[in-house]
């Protein structure tokens, strides 16, 4: 198979980027999208050119590193998969494919298709700790959790933090990400003690990082490689309202997780 690729090239965070067209030749239909790019890069290296920088790690859809907007859709045309799980047989031979990085103020472009997603990590850090007793590991099933509750928490916890929700959102909002993280812990008894502080601190961090606000278009749900439901966003809103009314006497910032008591 043969493809014409329009790839966004940008040397650094403060440089101007532009599209450059490359030809991908001898592509097998069984190749993944990233393997196809590896082939293009190999050819560029042979010609003494700078290869296209893109992020990747596990190549089995669980690390959340790969982050390409393919023909205007984050992670490409298929639902419920990451870019590395997308195969070239999905495209027709000779097709023209446009590849762009995630575009958001909170995700500055480092080089070509690689963006800095540490804003998501900083939101996570703002969420703080959960109360766990030190000492020996607790036996399983000491705290009984209903099956439905456990499944809901697992649905939310399956978020791999790839940032496709931000990339797909018209407003570059990280609501689905924050919703998944907040709902995961708020659903389980282990996460309950700090739930009010956590939701307030994480949403404050989201605003601080310059993400937009939710427009309830549900584009995020459509591109999420883990099919995380937007009902968690309603749950996040509910948690936030609850934190503002029911537990408004508590401090809004949790203690720093690394602070030692002197």
């Amino acid at each position: 198979m043969k493809f014409t690729l329009n790839i966004w090239r940008q040397n650094g965070p403060h440089e101007r980027g532009r599209f450059i067209t490359y030809e991908a030749q001898d592509v097998s239909p069984g190749m993944s999208f990233l393997e196809m790019l590896d082939g293009v890069n190999q050819r560029l290296l042979c010609n003494g050119e700078e290869p296209v920088a893109f992020e990747q790690d596990c190549r089995e859809g669980i690390c959340g590193s790969c982050s390409l907007v393919i023909n205007g859709i984050p992670h490409g045309p298929d639902q419920g998969i990451t870019t590395c799980q997308l195969y070239m047989r999905r495209f027709s031979d000779g097709a023209s494919i446009t590849i762009e990085p995630w575009r958001a103020k909170a995700f500055p472009i480092l080089k070509d298709l690689v963006v800095d997603r540490s804003a998501l990590d900083r939101i996570m850090q703002a969420g703080g700790y959960i109360s766990v007793n030190t000492g020996g590991a607790v036996d399983g099933n000491v705290i009984l959790i209903g099956k439905d509750q456990a499944e809901t928490a697992m649905d939310a916890a399956s978020c791999i933090g790839c940032g496709a929700c931000v990339a797909a959102c018209k407003n570059a909002s990280a609501m689905l990400y924050v919703a998944a993280k907040v709902s995961h812990l708020a659903t389980l008894p282990q996460g309950r003690p700090e739930r009010a502080c956590r939701v307030s601190a994480m949403l404050e961090a989201m605003d601080r990082e310059g993400f937009g606000s939710c427009g309830n278009q549900y584009e995020c749900e459509a591109v999420c490689p883990k099919n995380i439901s937007t009902r968690f966003i309603a749950n996040l809103n509910h948690e936030y309202l609850r934190a503002g009314i029911v537990e408004s006497g508590l401090p809004s910032e949790p203690e720093s997780p690394h602070a030692e008591s002197s």
Partner: protein, 225 residues
């Protein structure tokens, strides 16, 4: 209470403000439509209803001031949020394809602005009588303000009919996304109710628009005269 106050300053808090004021305005448009349907009962009913509202100046002006301030807060928050949203993506995608977003959800800003212009015109036209002053103070035989006559006169004019139908299109478009979206923003979520809630918004929007369109067309087609 300190946390509640700081929450109102955040993006989600502002969205909740937007949702609450929006829902308040939705309640108004529903009752406005129901009240106006009395046109079909004849001049006595509609003019009597208008006189009944004007007999309670404190309530009338209380509601008017409440509605105006809700609209002002709604517009102010929408502007703040959309400016923030625009800043969140300084460089646009070259190709962007929507997968799920409805037409209504993509045109909220446009339908909102169109609605603002339409409501401004409507207030000057049928409430204040600035645009069509001929009927502003006319009385019916019973001595009431002739609201019925004013409405019938207005919608016999094809230009007004087109303008009001366009306004209803904007209203329907705005409401079909707004109501379900507000419910989500206020954090209501239940597996069994989800589908109901999703249908709920467009349904209320449709009922309001159909009620209003019935009034406009009934006059224009000569069914009510």
């Amino acid at each position: 209470m300190i946390r509640l106050f700081s929450h109102l300053q955040s993006s989600v808090g502002k969205k909740m403000g937007l949702a609450m004021t929006g829902l308040g305005l939705v309640v108004f448009v529903v009752f406005h439509m129901l009240g106006n349907l009395q046109l079909f009962e004849g001049p006595h009913a509609l003019n009597g209803y208008a006189a009944f509202l004007r007999d309670m100046p404190i309530v009338l002006w209380g509601v008017r001031i409440g509605l105006l301030s809700m609209a002002a807060v709604h517009i102010g928050l929408a502007l703040q949020l959309s400016m923030r949203n625009r800043r969140a993506r300084p460089v646009e995608y070259t190709i962007h394809r929507y997968r799920r977003a409805s037409i209504a959800s993509r045109t909220m800003a446009i339908s909102g602005m169109a609605l603002l212009l339409f409501v401004g015109f409507h207030l000057l036209h049928l409430t204040a009588g600035v645009i069509d002053p001929g009927f502003a103070d006319r009385r019916d035989p019973e001595g009431y303000r002739d609201v019925y006559g004013k409405v019938v006169h207005a919608f016999q004019n094809p230009f007004m009919v087109v303008l009001y139908l366009a306004g209803q299109l904007g209203l329907g478009l705005h409401l079909s996304h707004a109501i379900a979206s507000s419910v989500q923003t206020m954090g209501f979520e239940h597996a069994a109710l989800n589908r109901l809630l999703k249908a709920f918004g467009p349904m209320i929007g449709l009922i309001v628009v159909l009620g209003n369109v019935a009034i406009i067309l009934a006059v224009f087609l000569g069914i009510v005269r």
